[in-house]
């Protein structure tokens, strides 16, 4: 599985949405499933999968799928 596939899978699992809905433009708090609780589940899953610990500022900034990819790249996760 590529890192991009992992990202889509983790978003889909944490937000309990279909993988097809995990697109770059998907934003935090624009669907009921991506609320603050699901956000923390997502963060925990990303950290576990990619073996990183995110800074609090990055957790707050992770406001879309595109932004998530951008932030993870700063932790040497290649897409």
């Amino acid at each position: 599985m590529t890192n991009n596939e992992k990202l889509v899978h983790l978003f889909s699992e944490a937000l309990t949405i279909a993988p097809e809905l995990v697109v770059d433009s998907l934003q935090y708090n624009t669907i009921p499933q991506w609320d603050s609780t699901a956000h923390m589940v997502l963060i925990a899953q990303l950290e576990a999968e990619f073996e990183i610990m995110l800074d609090t500022d990055d957790i707050i900034d992770m406001s879309s799928v595109a932004k998530a990819r951008e932030i993870l790249a700063r932790y040497d996760i290649e897409f």
Binding site: M40, A44, Q45, E47, M53, T56
Partner: protein, 241 residues
């Protein structure tokens, strides 16, 4: 039967008193115990005595050092139980409290629990876990000279309940222990008169033992308490009655 086999327990403030008793008990119950404290020397002495103990020197008031600890912990395989036991008690009359006293006490007793719990909750969220905050009966009981300590511990109890609510969906339980007068070095700061008065006020007429508090922490750490969250449990010989 050992109750904490295959569990990783982190005890913040483990070098003496209640934290040390918890470390000893949880090791005997099969846990992998990581003792965290400010003093590297004290931890190393402890590790010599307790063979299987892992140690990590950390000043929790230096919040920049907290993330590297959890990165290290993640590489160790994760976390099941976090015990926030570090605490400072410096009795002072209300008119003698300086800004430094406030900053230092709140940084250790309350503020550090925020990043510690944030990182811990994320490490625990895959399989659940237990966060145990050590509060005090003084969070709910006014005593002379304890305004700072009491206010900081009241904050710990409020944080415990709010975190319990937020983390319940991730199967992370959050509870607090509120010890009364326990026979530890924390009581060294009390005057003889205050200590005598305290003893007189305790219905069971004795100080508690660190090992007794450790037994309560063991219960909250184990699966025996798996439906308990958001609670503050006093262990005080009836002092708060």
């Amino acid at each position: 039967m050992q109750r904490l086999v295959n569990k990783t327990v982190v005890i913040i403030g483990a070098s003496q008193g209640i934290g040390l008793a918890m470390a000893e008990l949880m090791l005997s119950e099969g846990a992998k115990v990581i003792a965290v404290a400010r003093s590297k020397d004290k931890l190393e002495q402890l590790a010599q005595r307790l063979e299987k103990l892992d140690i990590y020197p950390l000043d929790i008031t230096q919040t920049d050092n907290i993330k590297p600890f959890f990165v290290w912990l993640q590489k160790q395989g994760g976390l099941d139980v976090l015990i926030n036991n570090a605490g400072i008690m410096e009795p002072k009359g209300f008119g003698f409290i300086k800004s430094d006293n406030l900053q230092q006490s709140f940084a250790t007793n309350l503020f550090a629990l925020f990043p510690l719990s944030q990182f811990a909750a994320r490490l625990m969220s895959k399989k659940g876990g237990s966060i145990i905050n050590v509060s005090s009966v003084l969070a709910q009981k006014a005593t002379l000279g304890q305004a700072v300590y009491s206010a900081s511990k009241a904050g710990v109890e409020a944080l415990t309940k709010n975190l319990a609510l937020e983390l319940a969906g991730q199967k992370v339980r959050v509870n607090a222990i509120a010890p009364g007068s326990i026979d530890t070095s924390l009581l060294d700061n009390l005057t003889e008169q205050t200590l005598a008065q305290t003893l007189a006020d305790i219905p069971m007429q004795r100080l508690g033992l660190p090992q007794e508090v450790a037994q309560l922490a063991l219960f909250l750490a184990s699966n025996e308490s798996q439906y308990i969250t958001g609670q503050v449990i006093a262990i005080d010989g009836g002092w708060s009655l």
